[in-house]
């Protein structure tokens, strides 16, 4: 009786983890934007504890992936950046959560 190679045939959920979201800083940004409607750059920076440069870099990556929408505007002649999860980002985050529950067994 042939024994199949588990790595070959089993489609392990960890293989389908979205690596873009899996990075801790981006995961935090996505999590914060998931629970709110929208937030500005300063609020996210304070909540996540990320530096300006870090948040800016991760924000660009998430925006490029279409997971977040970034709106730059001027408020009282000062630049103001608003961030919001897109529908695709919301779906991706939801899927990421489900995959992680599968991977970790969902007991935690």
């Amino acid at each position: 009786m042939p024994v199949s190679d588990p790595g070959e045939n089993d489609h392990h959920p960890i293989a389908e983890i979205d690596r873009l979201i899996h990075e801790p800083a981006r995961l935090m940004i996505m999590a914060y934007l998931y629970v709110v409607d929208s937030a500005d750059f300063l609020f996210l920076m304070r909540q996540t504890g990320l530096t300006h440069g870090n948040l800016s870099t991760h924000m660009s990556k998430l925006e490029a992936a279409g997971y977040i929408e970034v709106v730059k505007e001027f408020v009282d002649k000062k630049p103001h950046t608003m961030l919001r999860l897109t529908d695709a980002g919301r779906d991706a985050f939801q899927e990421y959560r489900e995959r992680m529950i599968q991977v970790l067994g969902g007991d935690s």
């Binding site: 801790p24 995961l27 935090m28 999590a31 914060y32 998931y34 629970v35 709110v36 409607d37 929208s38 937030a39 500005d40 750059f41 300063l42 609020f43 996210l44 920076m45 304070r46 909540q47 300006h52 440069g53 800016s56 924000m59 970034v70 730059k72 408020v75 000062k78 630049p79 103001h80 950046t81 608003m82 935690s108």
Partner: protein, 206 residues
């Protein structure tokens, strides 16, 4: 990281931090004070205007003082149907409790008994918004306000006042002043804890 990724905790922290300026207490205190103070006054219209524009006033102050310090966040809107049902059920529960209390200590048909216990009635009504804020933020501060509003309600209900609504008016002014001053203290501590970022500082914007 694991504990940081508890979404409920994240949501509560975001809400708690967005309310850490104490401005809601200031506005709520102002509304209650004026409600008590202007109950029989011809400038009652001022009170109506205050209620109508309270949200705008808080928003205006937050735009100038809060958002430049801690940023701005907009939360998902609550389902108005669920909110109204919750408010309705809570108020029915308060009326039932009041009815039971007055039945035990007096006569429910006696209007003066309802007037006498009206501070407690308002105290229990105030528990609603405080409990809601406590459950959304996980902050003990709102639980304390709820306890104070009920305790003061009992206190002002038990004191014998000569004229009709004196107990209620004094209660509203008292709880209003308490919330107003608490809010002002929280606001001044907030301003001290979060100084304005220097002009052009990288965290002022993206």
């Amino acid at each position: 990281m694991t504990q940081n990724l508890n979404l409920k905790k994240i949501e509560k922290k975001a809400y708690r931090d967005s309310q850490q300026d104490g401005l809601m207490e200031v506005m709520m205190g102002l509304i209650l004070m004026t409600f008590g103070g202007f109950f029989y006054s011809p400038i009652f219209a001022f009170y109506i205007l205050l209620i109508i524009f309270s949200g705008k006033i808080v928003e205006f102050i937050r735009r100038r003082y809060t958002h430049p310090r801690i940023g701005f966040v907009k939360f998902h809107e609550e389902n108005p149907k669920n909110a109204l049902t919750g408010v309705f059920l809570f108020e029915v529960a308060v009326i039932v409790i009041m009815f039971t209390l007055i039945s035990i200590f007096g006569d429910v048909k006696d209007y003066s008994q309802w007037v006498k216990w009206s501070p407690l009635f308002f105290g229990m009504i105030l528990v609603g918004p405080f409990a809601h804020a406590a459950s959304r933020s996980g902050s003990i501060r709102y639980t304390r306000y709820a306890i104070v509003s009920v305790v003061l309600g009992i206190f002002f209900s038990l004191i014998e006042f000569g004229s009709g609504y004196a107990g209620l008016i004094l209660y509203l002014v008292f709880i209003g002043v308490f919330l107003f001053l608490s809010g002002l203290v929280i606001f001044s501590l907030f301003l001290r804890e979060y100084p304005l970022p220097a002009e052009g500082a990288p965290d002022a914007s993206e």
